[in-house]
């Protein structure tokens, strides 16, 4: 099934990259909702929908004033940010391990200086 073809209508907006507002509206405002204790409530959909309104407004404003650069490839940058955090996290853990090892070595020696 081909799902990407645009229509043959002269009034089609097609699937332009700037139809982000349409995508947001559909994935945030439609779709099956699950409630109850089987879901992890990570995203507050009501707040997100509220934010969606602001975004839809700002997407249009941003486009008008040409400030839509963040729409182009922000996920890559956010992933890069996550990777950066992961690396930092690992480095911190390594340093912590090293410190703990040194501390243990010290407590094992009863004549070591301790305050």
């Amino acid at each position: 099934m081909q799902t990407r073809s645009t229509s043959d209508s002269r009034y089609a907006t097609g699937h332009r990259p700037d139809s982000l507002a349409d995508v947001l509206e559909r994935v945030l405002d439609r779709g099956v909702v699950i409630a109850g204790d089987i879901v992890v409530s990570v995203v507050n959909v009501e707040l997100l929908t509220l934010k969606l309104r602001l975004i839809v407004a700002s997407v249009e404003t941003a486009k008008e004033i040409g400030l839509d650069w963040w729409m182009r490839d922000p996920f890559l940058s956010s992933r890069a940010h996550a990777l950066e955090l992961e690396t930092e996290n690992r480095q911190l853990r390594e340093r912590l391990d090293a410190l703990e090892t040194r501390l243990e070595a010290r407590t094992d020696q009863p004549d070591g200086e301790r305050s």
Binding site: M1, Q2, T3, R4, S5, S7, D8, S9, R10, Y11, A12, T13, S19, L20, D22, V23, L24, E25, R26, V27, L28, D29, R30, G31, V32, V33, I34, A35, G36, D37, I38, V39, V40, V42, V43, N44, V45, L47, L48, L50, K51, R53, L54, I55, V56, S58, V59, W70, M71, D73, P74, F75, S77, S78, R79, A82
Partner: protein, 245 residues
Amino acid sequence: VTPARGLYLYASVPHDAQLGGVRGITGEPVEILRHARLGLVLGEVVVEMLTGLEDESADPGVLGALARCHDEVVRAAWAAAGAVLPFRLGTVLVDRDAARRYLDDRAEELCPAMQQVTACREWGVTVHDRATELRAHADPNAALDPGRPGTAYLARRRQEMARAEARRETMSCVEGELRARATDVAAGRHRKPDVVLDESYLVRRDAEPALFETVDRCGDLLLEQGLHLELSGPWPPYSFVPRGG
């Protein structure tokens, strides 16, 4: 400390659907969990990656990218399975047992809904009011008789009312024609005040040529009255899923 993990849901698909090589919102491999005559397209994610999206300080670009990625996976599943019922962005289940329990509980309403959307695609139609712009150009007769401003005003008012009436008639005619092409109709949110129509149509693929023909004809009609029609799609059937958790 291992970070909390959960199962991020993209869509339900028919039981026999196959999907390969698709990556999800956090780059995780996307799989299908099969149970109770249905499949759930999902990926294991670190829950933390999704928190705080709604915060004021959160980068709207991240949400935008997430939305696009969610849509991409839903579309990939759609292309592979032939039919999908998409989940709303941010739906995370606690574990596989929860996923199976969900299908046990909901298969009865998901299966007929899946049946309904099979062989159909969703199309969005919005109509914007551009009449005010048009009027600015097309109303020089407002100053026809400077000596009788009252008469000119009344004439203008009459003209405006006649125009509004004509537009109402055209709009209801257009609405009827578009709906006649659809298996089902869902109302949109009219997100801006100049939007006079915002609907989604579930249309059988074999009825699409007729839809496009109708859209073109109606679009021309509306344009004459300063109303601008836009067709978006094809969309996975986001607007035609069972309601209620």
